[in-house]
Amino acid sequence: MPRRYLAIWLPYLATDRLIKIDPDLKDKPFVLAATEKGRMVIKASSPKAMQEGIAVGKVLADARAIMPALQEFDYEPEVLSSVLEALAEWCMRFSPIAAVDGTDGIILDVSGCPHLWGGEEPYLQAITARMAQGGYHIKAAIADTIGTAWAVARYSAEPAIVEIGKHSEALTVLPPEALRLESAVVQRMQKLGFRTIGQFMNMPKSTLRRRFGDSLIQRLGQALGSHPEILKPVCPIEPYLERLVCLEPICTATGIEIALRHLLEQLCKRLEQEGKGIRTAVFKGYRIDGNVQQISIGTSRASGSERHLFRLFELKIATIEPALGIELFVLEAPLVEELGDLQDKLWDTKGDQSKVAELLDNIAGKVGMQAIHRYLPAEQHWPERSIIETGSLDQMPATPWPQDKWRPLHLLEKPEPIDVMVPLPDYPPILFTHKGKVFNLTKADGPERIEQEWWAADGQPRDYYRVEDAKGARYWLFRAGHYADGDVQWFLHGFFA
């Protein structure tokens, strides 16, 4: 999946924050200033003040000369950085990976998120609208790389979504400062007449490096996606992983069991605090000869029970070959789920249903998950398609099981062809031959015509007959096709109790 990044620029972060505290300031020009080299320099300027031409970086005294009514507040960078961090954490509602970017931006890794909002455009609109509701002016852009998203958010008037693979085109028209360069490099570029990135983007790297240094190559590469760039999320996603380093190599089953118990205890403690349970877990042993031995388990529902998980692993410990010894054990849970109250929905009626789940996990560990089946009704008449398998233990039927039609207790996986004797077309058969044996029929019911669902499959309809032979055994036979179309074929499909 291609990576997608969203860059948010908060150009008026400092003043927006003050307006949120004191709404009266909203339509007034004001600035935030701090001492720099013995004079007060403007660090942030409200939108109203910006309109009057009071730009960031001006000396406060000059600004006062232009506008005597200008209000002035202290600029507190620490407070702003904490505000920005809080905002980034709040942004985790849109994407799990959110990072603070400099002093006035937030970067989100939105790969795989926008479809939940119905596409990138509604996604971006949602973020912009929520931020505006909160009183922050923002500009945001989505692109393939962090560098391009950053550049487009700040320097482009174009639509803020850069299509997949179009990032280099989007960059060509932007000025060089959009590459997050140092001011000295930018100045040199302006001196040399580079107005847009497109002018030097395709120049040989050695030339660029000689004149502008390594940082330009790196920044350009990051914007184009050829250099890696790492986000530092505000809430890093910690993998569910525990390690145990052994002083001496372990080569006995008892030793492995002790290590496993130890790791399970640590992992389960952490999971318990977070209210989560394990769905799959991998236990790895790193041997001193470099080989890695591993066993894995899966559970049918999230489990945080040490005892149960250990029992699942226990069945497989014998497959670990310690050889000369294992020096490092790692227990990882790649898939964890919430241990919610939801779990007991189906099975909470009577009896301890977590016990059933544990039993099924045990069975899955021994004979495999593919052996366990549970069925729900499907809204189809065709017998083979009238039930649908479900992988979940908690899923309940969406529709009740049909009661009106009498279905056989045993159904052959594939209908088996039979030879029949029928007195008259459309009459039930009076005898049939299956695998060389003749069955004389005494009673019959039917036919019940079942058509192929035209949207699901093409084919002949089936006319089903419920018949009973002279010994009392009851069968489900059907005729595929119409007599009018020529050849018809008869099949045995099931047995009634």
Binding site: T349, W401, P402, Q403, L409, R466, E468, A473, R474, G494
Partner: protein, 247 residues
């Protein structure tokens, strides 16, 4: 008076014997569901189908196997009325879940375990019988030895789960540590007023062996979600349907 005393003493002794053999009144006495098998009550110890035990069913043909599964489904429908779940273990399963609705069972309440060998089926059954959150475990398999059946019996003694061991075409009908041995055979169905067509299923229920009970043969049908007892003279007659001819 002496005779009455003797009877009491004998009954008491018999109950003590049953208790020693694992049939505690507390187990079977409490809320025993009504299976509708009253006609065969004299066959059972204390007059009720022993629960918390393993019952063996033997089916020589696939028609008999279907009938036995039908009979077991009839028992399960009573056992599962309290919404507890059931495990159905089988090798080569041909049971069609939707067919269970006829016996008043919600098929999604049953978890099917399809294994390849009898050994695996027995392992799963033993594990399942130890789990007292289940109400019953059905296993369809072929062969098993006396020792293996003992393990099953040991498992149910603690958990009080009922097991149904359904043996299809066993090579030998060897003795097992099961509480009973049943053979179910389908016989001609019944229709109201001898109308043409296939009627309600009717089975010949042969109880070949029952611990502390009396074996015998009975006839049962399944009608409107319950067993109905059929008189032997009705059951043995295979009714020839009226042949109707249309112009």
């Amino acid at each position: 008076m002496l005779g009455l005393d003797k009877k009491d003493i004998v009954r008491e002794l018999r109950e003590q014997l049953l208790a020693i053999q694992g049939f505690k009144r507390s187990v079977i006495g409490q809320d025993v569901p009504d299976f509708g098998l009253n006609a065969m009550a004299p066959a059972f110890p204390f007059g009720v189908l022993p629960l918390g035990a393993v019952h063996e069913f033997i089916s020589p043909t696939s028609a008999c196997a279907t009938a036995a599964n039908g009979f077991v489904a009839g028992l399960l429908s009573t056992l599962m009325t309290n919404d507890m779940s059931c495990l159905w273990v089988s090798t080569k399963r041909s049971l069609f879940p939707a067919g269970l609705t006829y016996f008043g069972i919600q098929p999604h309440r049953i978890v099917f375990i399809d294994v390849r060998t009898d050994r695996e089926a027995l392992w799963v059954m033993e594990q399942a019988l130890k789990c007292n959150a289940l109400v019953a475990v059905v296993a369809e398999l072929g062969e098993l030895s006396f020792a293996q059946s003992q393990r099953l019996q040991l498992a149910v003694e603690d958990s009080k789960v009922t097991g149904f061991l359904h043996r299809k075409r066993p090579r030998r009908e060897n003795t097992l540590a099961c509480v009973s041995r049943w053979k179910i055979r389908p016989i001609a169905s019944h229709t109201a007023g001898n109308m043409p067509g296939v009627g309600i299923p009717v089975w010949e229920v042969r109880l070949e062996k029952i611990r502390n009970g009396k074996p015998g043969t009975w006839y049962f049908g399944w009608k409107d979600g319950a067993f109905i007892s059929i008189k032997p003279q009705d059951a043995t007659v295979i009714k020839v349907p009226k042949i109707e001819r249309y112009a």
